[in-house]
Symmetry: C2
């Protein structure tokens, strides 16, 4: 038995999310079908981030066990040929037998794209939130910086029962403009339900001048969803990177050089 680790990219627009659902097509189900077609095995591959309906991934990390003896490159090509065009496996490699993409994930990075040009861009409509009026990125960046650290993010969590704690560590929260595109990067050791989209909804209110930048810190620990901004639409959200202890060690080692 081998465990395979895959880097999977998908446009989530037409999927009800990563996880298999009774009410619509999911990325997990498409991968499961492709694996069955190629290997004859029935398995539900495990993804590091349970992306919601309409959310995309540049690099979702997925693991699955197989008895297949095919080379990774052969399996990758065969699976890609059996997947819809909106889902693609970018890389595939052997993983340790105990690899758990969910529990072993150390940092997950999500990126959200906003478009604030006066005229919308029809070619980006599935991949951004078009907010129409110019955002004040400096104010947004000030508000974002206040979220970095270990805090109770309960104000940024859509109600979800049975969560033991709403404390998470955010190590990056950064707002960058590139022309009419504004990206919001949030990297944390874990995310509450809709946390990035609630952060972005709040930052957009700051960028529109509807909420003072200095107020963001007071939302931490307050634990009231109503105090923060609305949940941003799914279309702009991308799972960008998942780091594991070995990746982190490598990154730190290369930074020491």
């Amino acid at each position: 038995m081998r465990v395979l680790k895959m880097v999977v990219t998908y446009d989530g627009t037409e999927y009800c999310g990563w996880q298999i659902q009774p009410n619509g097509p999911s990325v997990q189900a498409e991968l499961s079908k492709a694996i069955a077609a190629v290997t004859g095995e029935r398995t539900n591959p495990v993804g590091a981030g349970r992306t919601d309906s309409g959310v995309h991934a540049l690099a979702q990390i997925v693991a699955w066990p197989t008895e297949s003896r095919l080379d990774c490159s052969v399996l990758q090509r065969a699976l890609n040929a059996n997947l819809p065009a909106a889902i693609v496996i970018r890389r595939m490699e052997e993983a340790p037998a105990d690899f758990d993409p969910v529990r072993q994930a150390k940092w997950k990075l999500y990126r959200y794209y906003l478009h604030d040009g006066a005229v919308r861009d029809p070619f980006l409509l599935r991949h951004v939130w078009a907010v129409h009026r110019r955002l004040d990125v400096a104010a947004m960046q000030q508000a974002a910086a206040a979220l970095v650290g270990t805090h109770d993010f309960g104000s940024f969590e859509t109600h979800w029962p049975n969560r033991a704690t709403s404390v998470r560590t955010v190590r990056t929260c950064r707002v960058v403009r590139c022309g009419d595109l504004v990206s919001v990067d949030v990297e944390a050791d874990g995310f509450l339900y809709n946390m990035v989209r609630a952060i972005v909804g709040t930052l957009v209110e700051v960028g529109r001048g509807k909420r003072p930048a200095g107020e963001t810190a007071s939302l931490l620990g307050a634990g009231k969803r109503g105090l923060a901004g609305p949940t941003a639409p799914a279309a702009g959200l991308f799972l960008v990177r998942v780091l594991y202890p070995t990746d982190v060690a490598q990154t730190e080692a290369s930074e020491l050089k």
Copy 2:
């Protein structure tokens, strides 16, 4: 009565083309509906290029007559608010009363995007033709250069009755690589039905080594569609620019400086 000239951008994926059709939504019909909603007038705006089902436009030129006295900027904003997100008016200005976007067009530029990375890109799938294997761009460029000039392009025309002549002047036919994207620009004084897509289908056969680059010239004047390559899919095609005599005069004047 004023005549207004608009620059319109659209993602054509979900439209049956520019022109009003009985069998599906068209860009012309959406514009017509938005104009009726804003001005109360019934008119079918005229577009410079009759793009086919699934073909996009970065800058379609559209003209329509109106009795409205609203400023162009006000009309533009009101129409954009009444259009689907996939269609947007980027610019609107007054035009001479006799402005005819079809007959007065001097040069039209179409661009076709191919993606030839080993791994497809899910975020580009509505906007490129993914050909999977690396294309020989130097050979394609050699074949493309042979098409420049005034020729009978009948071999690149899908059958379409009642065409007086299949002679057209191509002033640019250029193939450029940028990473895994290969663009094919074709600028001509007019286009036969499916002409760009037949040229691209032929150039892709050259890029795959299935057809010698030097053979392209022999297709000109042969007048047999079967001799050229297949018609490339609609998704990769964009109407990029339409030049009118005044634009051309301005361009030439600026080049003289």
